[in-house]
C-alpha cells in the first residue's frame, strides 16, 4: 500500500531523538571510567533497570513482528509472546543473582570467573558477537522498512539515520545513556499499547469496519461464472473481459485464478469451485523490468487497500458490537468468522504474481494453534513438523537468559538483590505487554487495517485508524524500539571486543581511560558494520534471524552458564568445548535447514539436508553433553 509521511510522526521522532541525544550528552560528562561506560557505574536503580530490561527485550520483533503475525495467523503468533516471556523465568530463578555475583562487565567475566581461561574468554566473546550481529541485522532492516512509510525516506537513509544516532548514544555515554533510552522507550511502549487496546475495545467490532468513519469499508465483489471442462470462462457480468487464466498446483488442490480487465485496469479473481463465483483478490505483479504494480496500478494510485474484517458476528453477516472488554472481545471473535487472506505466488509470462485471496476462517480456529505452525496431525502435520515446533519453543525458553545484551544489564545495578528485583519488574512489564500483543494483533485482524504486503505494519496501522496523534506516537515508538535495542546490542558487542578480547584475552593491560576509549572505538566499528548489514539485507525476510539469535544463545551460552553454577565438576575445557560445539552445531543446522535454503539461498525444489528449521532441540542437548563429557575427561588429577 501507499503511505504518506505524517508531519506529526516526523515532529515526534525529532523530539525523541533530541531528548535521547540530550540524555547522552548529560551522561557523557559523568562517564569517565570503564565501569561507567560498560555498566553505567553499577548504580542504576533496580526499578529503572527493570523497565530498561523491558525496553531492551521488547524489540521490533516483539512490537511489530508478533502483532503482525497475530493479525495474520491468530493464536500461533501469540505462541511467540508466551515463549519469549517464559524465558525470563530461567533468567530470574537461575541466572540473575549468580551472574551479578560472578561478573563485572560482560557475561564472559562470569563464565571465566573460576578459571581465567583464554579459551573461555575468546569463545564467549565470539559467541557474544555472533548473537549480537544476528540480533542486529533484523533491527537495522526493520529501521529501514519503517522509515519509508513513516518518514517518507528511502531504506538506506533510515538505516544510516538509526545507525548514526545509536553510535552517538553509545559512544558518548555507553550503558548509562543506553539504560535511560531503554527506560523511556519501555515505559512509553507499555503505556501506549495499553491505550491502543482500550481504544480497540471502545470501538467494538463490525462486519464493515470503516476505521472509525475515516475509510469507508470496501466490500469484496463476486461475479457468477461458468467454467467449462476446457477451462473456458463465461462471466455473468459483461463489463469485464477475460484476459487470461492463472493456475497454481495440481489435481484437487489446484487453484484457478482469472485475470479480468475493466476500464483498462487488470484485476485478478479466484474461482470458487463450490459456489461457482469469482472472488475478488488483491495482488502485486513484478514485471520483467522490475517495476511492481499493486492491483494493476502503480503504488501511488492506492488501488491496493487495507483488509481485515469479520464476515459473521454472533451468526449475523451485518452486525456491530458495542464497547467490548478483555473477555467479550475474544468471545465475539471466537463465535464469529474472520476473513483471513492466503498468499499464493506464481509466475506467468515473466511476471511474478503474489495473489492474496480470501479465506473465511472460523474464529474458534483462529484462537487455537495450527494456522502458522503445523501441529495438527489431522491437518497433515508430520512428526518432524511437531519436533520443529517443540524446538522453537525450547529455544525461546532457554535463549532469553543467554542473550548477551540482556545479561550485561545485570551489571548496571548495585547488588545481586537488585538484579533479582529488576528482573521481577521486567517480568511484570514484559508479561503485561505480551498479553496486550494478543489484543493489538486481533484488533488489527478485524479492523480493516492490515497491509498484506507488510504485516509488520499491523500495529502502527491499527493506531492510525484511531487518528494521526496516536499513530505519530506509535510510529515514533517503533523507531525508539529499534534505537533502544540496537544501542543495547552495540554496548554488548563493544564490551566483548574491548573488555573480553582486547583487555583480557590479548592481555593489553589497558588502564581505565584506555578501556573506555577502546569501548567507544569498538562501538563505532560495530555500529558501522550494523549499518552496512542493514543495507545489504534490505528486502530480505529477516524476522527469523531473531530466532537464530535465540537458538545460538541457547545452544552456545546457556549450557555453560547453568553448568558453571550447578555442577562442581565443570572444567574450563568443558566450558570452552560446550560453547564451541553449541555455536557451531546451532549455526550449522540453521545453514542447512529448509528455511535457509528457500529464503536465503533461494534454492527452490531442493530438499535441505536438515529436516527441521529450529536447531535447539539438537544443539542444546549436544552442548550440555559436550560439557559433561569433556569436563569428566579433563578433571584435575587430585579429583580423579
Amino acid at each position: 500500500m501507499n503511505y504518506q509521511a505524517s508531519p506529526w510522526a516526523i515532529a515526534l521522532f525529532v523530539i525523541f531523538v533530541i531528548s535521547v541525544l540530550g540524555i547522552s550528552y548529560y551522561f557523557a560528562r559523568r562517564t569517565k571510567s570503564a565501569k561507567g561506560f560498560f555498566a553505567a557505574g553499577g548504580n542504576i536503580h533496580w526499578s529503572v533497570n527493570g523497565i530498561a530490561f523491558a525496553g531492551d527485550y521488547l524489540s521490533a520483533a516483539s512490537f511489530l513482528g508478533i502483532c503482525g503475525m497475530i493479525s495474520i495467523a491468530g493464536f500461533d503468533g501469540f505462541l511467540y509472546s508466551i515463549g519469549y516471556l517464559a524465558g525470563w523465568i530461567v533468567a530470574l530463578f537461575v541466572v540473575a543473582e549468580p551472574m551479578k555475583r560472578l561478573g563485572k562487565y560482560t557475561f564472559a567475566d562470569a563464565l571465566d570467573s573460576k578459571f581465567n581461561s583464554k579459551g573461555i574468554q575468546i569463545a564467549a566473546a565470539i559467541s557474544t558477537l555472533m548473537v549480537s550481529i544476528f540480533y542486529l541485522i533484523p533491527q537495522m532492516v526493520g529501521a529501514g522498512s519503517l522509515v519509508t512509510p513513516l518518514l517518507g525516506l528511502p531504506h538506506e537513509i533510515g538505516v544510516i539515520l538509526v545507525g548514526v544516532i545509536v553510535i552517538i548514544i553509545v559512544a558518548t555515554a555507553g550503558m548509562a545513556s543506553t539504560t535511560y533510552v531503554q527506560f523511556i522507550k519501555g515505559t512509553m511502549l507499555i503505556v501506549f499499547s495499553l491505550t491502543l487496546v482500550f481504544l480497540v475495545f471502545s470501538r467494538g467490532i463490525s462486519t464493515k469496519p470503516d476505521q472509525g468513519g475515516d475509510v469507508p469499508f470496501r466490500g469484496f465483489k463476486t461475479i457468477p461464472v461458468t467454467v467449462s471442462t476446457d477451462k473456458s470462462v463465461a462471466l455473468a457480468d459483461n463489463s469485464y473481459a477475460v484476459k487470461k487464466m492463472l493456475t497454481f498446483g495440481e489435481g484437487e488442490k489446484q487453484l484457478l485464478f482469472v485475470l479480468l480487465v475493466k476500464d483498462s485496469q487488470e484485476t485478478i479473481w479466484k474461482y470458487n469451485t463450490k459456489t461457482n463465483l469469482l472472488e475478488e483478490t488483491l495482488y502485486t505483479a513484478k514485471l520483467p523490468n522490475n517495476t511492481t504494480l499493486y492491483n494493476g496500478a502503480p503504488k501511488e494510485q492506492a488501488q491496493f487497500y487495507q483488509v481485515g474484517h469479520m464476515s459473521m458476528i454472533d451468526g449475523k453477516s451485518d452486525a456491530k458490537t458495542g464497547t467490548l472488554d478483555f473477555f467479550s472481545f475474544i468471545e465475539k471473535i471466537k463465535n464469529g468468522v474472520v476473513v483471513r487472506w492466503n498468499k499464493t505466488l506464481l509466475a506467468d509470462e515473466g511476471i511474478k504474481y503474489t495473489i492474496y485471496h480470501q479465506n473465511p476462517t472460523l474464529g474458534s480456529e483462529i484462537l487455537k494453534p495450527g494456522l502458522k505452525f503445523k501441529v495438527d496431525s489431522a491437518k497433515g502435520a508430520s512428526l518432524m513438523d511437531k519436533i520443529d515446533f517443540i524446538s522453537l519453543m525450547l529455544a525461546l525458553f532457554f535463549g532469553t537468559a543467554a542473550l548477551p545484551h540482556i545479561l550485561i544489564r545485570y551489571y548496571t545495578v548495585r547488588s545481586p538483590a537488585c538484579a533479582r528485583k529488576s528482573t521481577i519488574v521486567a517480568i511484570a512489564a514484559i508479561g503485561l505487554f505480551y498479553i496486550l500483543t494478543l489484543y493489538m494483533g486481533l484488533g488489527a485482524m478485524v479492523n480493516g487495517v492490515i497491509d498484506l504486503t507488510n504485516d509488520n505494519m499491523s500495529a502502527p496501522l491499527l493506531a492510525r485508524s484511531f487518528g494521526i496523534a496516536i499513530f505519530a506516537v506509535i510510529s515514533a515508538l517503533a523507531f525508539a524500539t529499534v534505537l533502544g535495542t540496537v544501542s543495547g546490542l552495540i554496548v554488548a558487542a563493544s564490551g566483548a571486543v574491548a573488555h573480553d578480547i582486547m583487555d583480557r584475552f590479548m592481555e593489553k593491560n589497558m588502564n581505565d581511560h584506555d578501556k573506555v576509549k577502546a569501548g567507544k572505538i569498538a562501538s563505532v566499528a560495530v555500529g558501522a558494520i550494523a549499518i552496512i548489514l542493514g543495507i545489504i539485507f534490505k528486502g530480505m525476510n529477516v524476522s527469523y534471524l531473531v530466532g537464530w539469535a535465540f537458538a545460538i544463545a541457547a545452544s552456545a551460552n546457556l549450557p555453560a552458564i547453568m553448568m558453571i553454577l550447578f555442577w562442581k565438576k565443570t572444567t574450563s575445557r568443558g566450558v570452552f568445548a560446550s560453547i564451541v560445539v553449541g555455536l557451531v552445531s546451532a549455526l550449522g543446522l540453521i545453514l542447512l535447514s529448509q528455511e535457509t535454503y528457500t529464503n536465503v539461498y533461494h534454492i527452490i525444489n531442493v530438499k535441505a539436508l536438515v529436516p527441521i528449521n529450529n536447531p535447539a532441540i539438537i544443539s542444546v542437548p549436544l552442548s550440555f553433553l559436550t560439557l559433561v563429557v569433556v569436563s569428566l575427561l579433563t578433571q584435575p588429577k587430585e579429583a580423579r
Partner: protein
C-alpha cells in the same frame, strides 16, 4: 576468583535462594512443557471453550500470569531470607 565484585557483603541466604530458584524454575518448566505437549498432541483440546475464552488462551495467559506470581513469591521469600539470615552489619545494602 578473578572478577569478584566487592560492592556487597557475603550473602548468607544465597544457598536457600538457589534451592528455591531451582525448584520454582523446574515447576514452571513442567507447566510450560505441558502447554507445548498439548499443542502438538491435541490442538483440538486447545480449542475447547472455557467461559468466553478457550483452553489455548486461558493456558497462554495463565503461563504469563503464573510467571509473574512465581516471581513475586520468589522475591518475597528471598527478601525475608536475606533479612533473617544476614547479620545486620553483613546485610546487603537495601535499595528497595
Amino acid at each position: 576468583m578473578l572478577h569478584t565484585s566487592t560492592d556487597w557483603k557475603k550473602d548468607g541466604a544465597s544457598s536457600l535462594k538457589e534451592l528455591l530458584g531451582k525448584w520454582l524454575c523446574l515447576l514452571y518448566a513442567l507447566v510450560y512443557a505441558g502447554f507445548i505437549f498439548i499443542n502438538v498432541a491435541s490442538p483440538q483440546f486447545m480449542g475447547i471453550d472455557v467461559g468466553s475464552l478457550n483452553v489455548a488462551i486461558v493456558y497462554g495467559f495463565g503461563l504469563i500470569l503464573f510467571a509473574m506470581v512465581l516471581a513475586f513469591i520468589y522475591n518475597q521469600v528471598s527478601t525475608h531470607a536475606e533479612e533473617l539470615l544476614n547479620q545486620p552489619e553483613d546485610r546487603e545494602e537495601k535499595t528497595a
